[in-house]
């Protein structure tokens, strides 16, 4: 049953965009019913495909006037349901806004539209010796606008930081439909920093100025095989404790290796209970020195095989198993949940042991893939969805893992975001006062709560009138046409 409240907004969208950019056909709408978190599905009320910032602003103004909620969507690769649409709302898809507007190497920056893919930025400047540093594993398809919303990281954020550390300015459409620039050169509140990672709840990004990073002189990737996760973990601690900051340190346990072998035949050392991938980059003499150190540390901690990738082809072979890991578990399990939690790195051994125990208690297998350098776990909770009760037990195990993260002073999400998936866990990590204070920011940007409502925060809240702004009674109240309760 179509929502008639959208009739007038749809007429306005057709005027703004033309018929080729407004989708109302129920069959075509289903293309957009979920993002990368596929077990949450909702058909949007209407999909719009703007090509300019002004069109986005005009669309949002229509939404504001009619009180219609809107959700922004880039490539739809998000893993927390941040771009899950609403049947009563508008899905603003930025996939037609994919121009690289300018590249300014003397100032080491690029200005791009939000639909440009993460990797496209790097590809545009690679030959000149630059790249865009954040590298989420979906970087071939994910959009920079989505990266801004989620504050995306990637394997290399251990050394290089997240999206928020690489965005210099944004043009956004506020939830009232104004185009505003948030720039790192503005004095005052760091609204740019607050907007990045706000998961679409503060407005829609229409232009992104990113910092370009000089390509490192040398890159060396090392694969070390250990008997078990504990020895690999000790090596990680010794590397970091030794004052080395690798570009990436990734670990996979036996089950994750088994899955990767089944899926992509990555030929990791046979019999490994854990593999560690350590990538070092930087000036050649520094990398050479650190490589010798890392090698020594791995050997001292029981690595029984070490492989070194010195060129891009060999490096790709080492990374192949790691990068395929999420999808690969499909080979060893009919269904799985990808979890994303963070613990202080020193708590890793204890938490991994706890995960193993919980897994055993519930008869649910858990494959572990993680960014070991920063304690970001990606447990893959495996289950058979044909088995009665298995999905519920998997969900329980997955939730218990997040509890462990919070109990150890970590976070319920390191990079996938809260979205719709984890909003109910926010109260485990934050107090009522913490959440109410975050809500002040939300109300400043979006007092009507129209921008991606229902995401991030556990319970919908009303903003009320902006405190401090003493306005008179509502005109309708004053004229006796309405009463306020």
């Amino acid at each position: 049953m179509p929502d008639t409240a959208l009739d007038e907004p749809v007429r306005r969208f057709l005027e703004i965009l033309g018929p080729g950019s407004v989708i109302t056909d129920p069959v075509r709408l289903r293309t957009y019913e979920c993002d990368g978190l596929t077990h949450h599905r909702t058909s949007p009320g209407v999909v719009v495909l703007p090509e300019t910032a002004e069109q986005v602003a005009a669309i949002v103004r229509v939404c504001a006037r009619h009180g219609v909620p809107f959700v922004a969507r880039g490539a739809g690769t998000g893993l927390s349901g941040g771009a899950l649409p609403r049947t009563d709302g508008v899905l603003v898809v930025t996939s037609r806004m994919r121009r690289i507007l300018s590249i300014d190497l003397p100032n080491r920056l690029a200005v791009v539209e939000p639909g440009v893919t993460n990797l496209a930025i790097t590809e545009a400047v690679r030959e000149q010796g630059y790249y865009y540093a954040p590298d989420p594993s979906s970087q071939q398809v994910c959009s920079i606008g989505g990266n801004v919303a989620e504050n995306s990281g990637g394997a290399h954020c251990l050394k290089y930081g997240f999206t928020v550390n690489h965005v210099l300015a944004l043009e956004i459409v506020t939830p009232d439909g104004d185009l505003v620039e948030l720039s790192h050169t503005d004095p005052g509140y760091d609204l740019l920093g607050a907007f990045v990672g706000s998961e679409g709840t503060l407005g829609i990004t229409t232009k992104v100025t990113v910092r370009l990073t000089r390509a490192p002189q040398a890159v060396t990737t090392l694969l070390a095989a250990f008997d078990d996760v504990e020895s690999g973990g000790r090596a990680v601690s010794a590397i970091i404790g030794g004052g080395i900051l690798p570009a990436a340190i990734e670990m996979m346990d036996a089950l994750a290796i088994e899955a990767a072998e089944a899926a992509v035949a990555c030929s990791y050392p046979e019999g490994a209970g854990a593999v560690l991938i350590v990538e070092l980059d930087g000036p050649s003499p520094e990398v050479a020195h650190q490589f010798a150190e890392v090698r020594r540390i791995c050997e001292e901690n029981g690595a029984f095989e070490l492989r070194v990738a010195a060129d891009p082809a060999e490096r790709a072979a080492v990374w192949k198993g790691r990068k395929s890991a999420f999808a690969a578990v499909g080979r060893i399990s009919p269904a799985y949940i990808v979890q994303d939690g963070v613990v202080p790195r020193t708590a890793l051994p204890e938490v991994l042991a706890d995960i193993e125990r919980i897994s055993g208690e519930h008869g649910i297998r858990v494959a572990n893939v993680f960014h070991a350098g920063d304690g970001n776990l990606h447990p893959l909770v495996l289950f058979d969805d044909d088995e009665p009760g298995a999905a519920e037990r998997a969900e329980l195990v997955s939730g218990r893992i997040l509890d462990l993260c919070v109990e150890h002073g970590g976070s319920i999400t390191g990079e996938h975001g809260v979205g719709i998936d984890k909003s109910r866990y926010m109260t485990k990590m934050f107090s009522e006062d913490d959440l109410a204070t975050m809500q002040l920011v939300r109300c400043a940007f979006d007092p009507e709560g129209l921008s991606n409502p229902g995401k991030v925060f556990p319970t919908p809240r009303l903003c009320g009138e902006a405190p401090g702004v003493r306005r008179g009674a509502h005109p309708l109240v004053e004229s006796g046409q309405a009463e306020q309760f």
């Binding site: 100032n107 990281g153 520094e286």
Partner: protein, 394 residues
């Protein structure tokens, strides 16, 4: 009826009357977040305007607050909890940033330079001030991973946490960076740390003219020897600038030699120590201090253009496009107008003698000001936190 002073005293926190003639009526010295919250609750009940202050090194920055009943000194907020294995530190706002430059028994540091030398954690966050190594490590906002803040009504809120990788909820810490005490009182911060570089070298280059500056800075900044900082010091009209780059880490000597090769024939040398002006502010205490933000590739051109204004000493992070400038008071109006109007750069007059700032908008145009105002209205609806210190009456 209890007087405000009695009520403040009633919290148990040391509170004293300020010296006669001082702007605040009382000065409080809280030692914990809970004590700050108690003071803020009393201040809310009695409609007192509160100005937080650390070491006071930047108290003169920004507009003078429109009113100030209570000066909240953070000097007793000094706890520190270091987790060396996780490379993080949790600190109270009153500790000097310099305290975090080294830790006993382990080679770790907060990679944040404080050009004022004695600034506290809270003051550094509130003013978003940073030094040379911003080029590599960013500023406080990039190193801050968690924050505890007390709001105007006494609410205590935290965001972030104790892990570097964390995208749960809004990052209130970012919002507070650069807030000049107008949103809340930061009482605790959690920072990520970095390993201390085993070796450091400075490469100084003396180009013969400002015309050579941009090419030189660009070449040093793009070096794959990866300098952590590329700074410039320009004593003003008629003199040549000095450029200095810092290389830190393993094989610093070898890498510094590679950087020196990029000097393009200008006199250059590698030193074990920083130049005397490194990580310091230009000008005299009590004088004019401005912060300029420009595209890095336009630093040289900007300096050439402002030469006509008169003598202006300029120093700062050329490769990041963030510079400090200290024009004499009589040159200030022409300098501000040249940078903002003719060159399109951002300029903030951080500090200036009262008579010199007359008629000058300290902050200049701020594009996102309406949004900032809305944030302020939500956080501090009664305008009791450092009212008027920031732009547009915030």
């Amino acid at each position: 009826m209890e007087t405000p002073f009695e009520a403040l005293r009633g919290t148990g926190v040391p509170v004293e009357p300020a010296a006669p003639g001082d702007a605040p009526r009382w000065v409080a010295y809280p030692g914990t977040t809970a004590e700050v919250a108690a003071l803020m609750r009393v201040s809310a009940e009695h409609d007192l305007a509160v100005v937080p202050s650390g070491a006071g090194t930047k108290l003169a920055w920004g507009n003078p607050p429109e009113r100030c009943d209570l000066l909240l000194r953070t000097g007793r907020l000094t706890s520190l909890e270091h987790s060396p294995g996780d490379l993080v530190v949790r600190v109270s706002a009153g500790l000097p940033v310099g305290t975090l430059a080294s830790f006993p028994g382990v080679a770790q540091e907060l990679a944040l330079d404080d050009p004022l030398g004695a600034g506290t954690v809270g003051g550094t966050l509130a003013t978003a001030v940073a030094g040379p190594r911003r080029f590599r490590y960013g500023t406080a906002r990039d190193l801050l991973i968690g924050v505890t803040v007390v709001l105007a009504d006494g609410t205590v809120a935290t965001s972030g946490g104790r892990v570097v990788k964390n995208v749960a909820g809004y990052d209130l810490g970012k919002l507070l960076c650069g807030s000049y005490g107008t949103l809340g009182v930061v009482t605790e911060a959690v920072f990520r740390l970095h390993p201390v570089a085993p070796e450091r070298r400075w490469i100084t280059v003396e180009p013969d003219s400002l015309a050579a500056l941009d090419g030189l800075v660009a070449a040093l900044a793009a070096s794959q020897a990866e300098p952590s900082a590329v700074e410039v010091d320009w004593p003003g009209t008629g003199s040549a600038p000095v450029v200095a780059a810092l290389v830190e880490g393993t094989a610093a000597g070898e890498r510094a030699a590679a950087v020196r090769e990029l000097a393009g024939g200008h006199p250059a040398r590698v030193r074990d120590e920083a130049p005397g002006w490194w990580n310091t502010l230009p000008g005299d205490p009590g004088g004019v201090l401005c912060e300029l933000r420009l595209p890095p590739a336009e630093v040289g051109r900007t300096l050439r253009e402002v030469t006509a204004c008169g003598p202006v000493r300029v120093r700062g992070s050329a490769a990041s496009g963030v510079l400090w400038a200290a024009p004499p008071p009589d040159v200030l109006p022409a300098f501000v107008s040249a940078v903002r109007d003719r060159l399109g750069g951002r300029l903030v007059v951080l500090a200036a003698p009262y008579d010199a700032i007359e008629g000058i908008d300290r902050w200049g145009p701020v594009g996102a000001l309406p949004l900032m105002r809305r944030v302020k209205e939500r956080f501090d609806p009664d305008r009791r936190l450092s009212p008027g210190r920031f732009a547009g009456g915030i």
